[in-house]
């Protein structure tokens, strides 16, 4: 395990062992194991890798068919434990839905009620805090249907921050955000990750490189690699080379801004090797998996 610093006497806040989940004939998760303490853990993988299923299990809304789950030291298959976990959990789904007639404030307030905050002044204070943290104080009175897609994602993020959760599950939070919003998001999540556990799924390698202390690369329901972002990049060491043209031996190649071609695959002898990035490692990992399945 490439453990995160949990700052809690070595006690992991998320522990999954051999998780399996099947939907009819589709095996969504196949023996997934991972551990996480305080910090940000990124789930990286293509569509259909099983990230959302895994996050739903972490959010306690889906039960695995097999395997062991421990969240915040509790077992979510037990009703009482599940309730305690949910009291310390924030969850932003991949496709957050909204009651579009609500204002941003009313919507977050609605979720605050679902989070057992019934005392109105204290609840409203917490709603304002979550909206402010997400940079939404100026639009809190606007109807959700009048907000842009990026703003709506921030509203979804705001509801997940209610109650200052110890475990934050974010499913594709940067999808649909413009570059400025994405930077703001990174800044905010990075600060939040200083004293809690955040599990974030993405297929944006830049997000993982910028935010996460630990990354889990998934494909077809399996964990391909667990480690630091640099470990993902290291997978591609010796497999990335620059050439004046597209090399036929490369599995993937593209023309860079400098006019040369960056080739990824089995480098030929004497090739001009390049420093690998997390993106190179990810492409190689996921690409190899796809290649072996096709064979």
């Amino acid at each position: 395990m490439t453990g995160l610093d949990d700052g809690n006497g070595g006690k992991q806040r998320v522990r999954l062992q051999g998780i399996e989940k099947r939907f009819l004939r589709t095996r969504a998760l196949d023996g997934v194991s991972l551990d996480a303490g305080t910090g940000i853990l990124g789930l990286l993988g293509p569509n259909g890798a099983g990230k959302t299923t895994l996050l739903r299990i972490l959010a306690t809304i889906l039960a695995p068919d097999a395997g062991e789950v421990r969240l915040l030291g509790r077992n979510p298959s037990r009703s009482r434990d599940r309730l305690e976990i949910r009291r310390r959990l924030g969850y932003m789904p991949q496709e957050p839905g909204f009651h579009r007639n609500f204002t941003a404030f009313e919507f977050v307030d609605y979720v605050a009620i679902l989070k057992e905050m019934t005392h109105r002044p204290r609840r409203h204070q917490e709603v304002r805090r979550a909206l402010e943290l997400s940079g939404l104080e100026s639009v809190s009175g606007k109807k959700i249907r009048a907000l842009s897609g990026g703003m709506r994602r921030r509203v979804a993020l705001a509801q997940s921050l209610l109650g200052d959760p110890d475990l934050l599950i974010l499913d594709e939070p940067t999808a649909g955000l413009d570059p400025e919003q994405r930077l703001r998001f990174r800044d905010m999540v990075s600060r939040l990750g200083e004293d809690r556990t955040i599990v974030v799924s993405t297929h944006q390698t830049e997000d993982v490189a910028a935010l996460c202390q630990q990354v889990v690369v998934m494909n077809a329901g399996r964990v391909l690699l667990t480690g630091a972002p640099r470990d993902v990049a290291e997978v591609a060491r010796g497999h990335v080379w620059l050439a004046d043209g597209r090399d036929p031996r490369a599995r993937l190649a593209w023309r860079t801004a400098e006019g040369r071609h960056r080739n990824i695959g089995d480098a030929p002898p004497g090739a001009e090797l390049a420093e690998p990035t997390i993106e190179d490692g990810y492409l190689l990992l996921v690409g190899e998996r796809a290649f072996s399945e096709a064979a």
């Binding site: 939907f23 609605y110 979720v111």
Partner: protein, 271 residues
């Protein structure tokens, strides 16, 4: 301008204990005099400013409530329950409008003859059933997934919404029933089937998706009424004493199933 506020008077005003006449005079002056505004700021406590600001925010934030929520508030419902109900698809004005139109057609048909009365009796129990089917669940509630991950029990949310939908739907059907041609036993014959089908739908939803449970119950209900009319010598056979007793038993059995299966609503079924 030569006149400025007396410092002692200004301090009393800042503490919020000055009488109304002097307060009005000072407020009129403060609007025009920057020097006095700066002077008074020193006397106003941070707690008081934060309290006033919180009150302003509170008024701004709660202002744009929807019509359903405002109405429920006026009826004395706690604000958090009113907000939970305001997010219920089958408690929106558009839903009530659709129900009113359906009931209007059924009532007009009922006035045309006995077949129309039977049609009304078939449709009436389906209205609360349909309302409950779209009150909560994975395909009808956009915040279903967020709600599941929250500590409030999904079963509790479902019961709050179902009860509100049942009461409002049955009130609308009850009003329509008054317009039936004969105010005899048939005007109330839909009551027990309505309750049985609605509770049955909730109980089946602990096994299947609410939509699947609804489709199954609508089919079974329609078939039962049609077969009753086809093979019985008495009219409105499905609404006579024996079937009514069966509906009461279904309602009780559904309550037992719901109590035992309440945790089934706590997690997703399927993807």
């Amino acid at each position: 301008m030569s006149w400025h506020g007396d410092p002692a008077l200004m301090e009393t005003y800042a503490l919020g204990i000055l009488d109304e006449v002097h307060s009005s005079s000072i407020e009129a002056h403060l609007l025009r005099c920057e020097r006095c505004r700066e002077a008074i700021a020193r006397h106003v406590g941070r707690d008081r400013i934060e309290g006033m600001w919180a009150a302003i925010e509170e008024r701004l934030d709660i202002a744009p409530q929807g019509m359903v929520e405002r109405l429920l508030g006026r009826l004395g419902m706690p604000d958090h329950v009113a907000r939970l109900l305001a997010a219920t698809p089958s408690l929106r004005l558009s839903w009530f409008g659709a129900v009113a139109i359906a009931l209007a057609f059924a009532t007009v048909a009922a006035r045309a003859g006995s077949v129309g009365v039977l049609q009304f009796l078939v449709v009436a129990p389906l209205i609360p059933l349909a309302g409950i089917a779209v009150a909560y669940g994975p395909r009808v509630d956009p915040t279903y997934e967020v709600g599941l991950a929250a500590p409030m029990r999904s079963f509790r949310l479902l019961m709050i919404r179902a009860l509100a939908v049942l009461i409002t739907s049955m009130a609308l059907v009850g009003i329509a029933a008054i317009a039936l041609p004969h105010l005899d036993w048939t005007a109330a014959a839909w009551l027990l089937p309505s309750i049985a089908l609605s509770l049955g739908n909730l109980a089946l939803s602990s096994y299947w998706s609410p939509q699947r449970a609804t489709v199954g119950l609508v089919a079974a209900w329609t078939l039962a009424v049609v077969l009753g009319e086809r093979f019985s010598s008495v009219p409105y056979a499905a609404f006579r004493a024996a079937p009514q007793a069966a509906f009461a038993m279904i309602a009780v059995a559904s309550i037992v199933v719901l109590a035992r299966r309440r945790e089934a609503f706590d997690t997703r079924r399927g993807r």
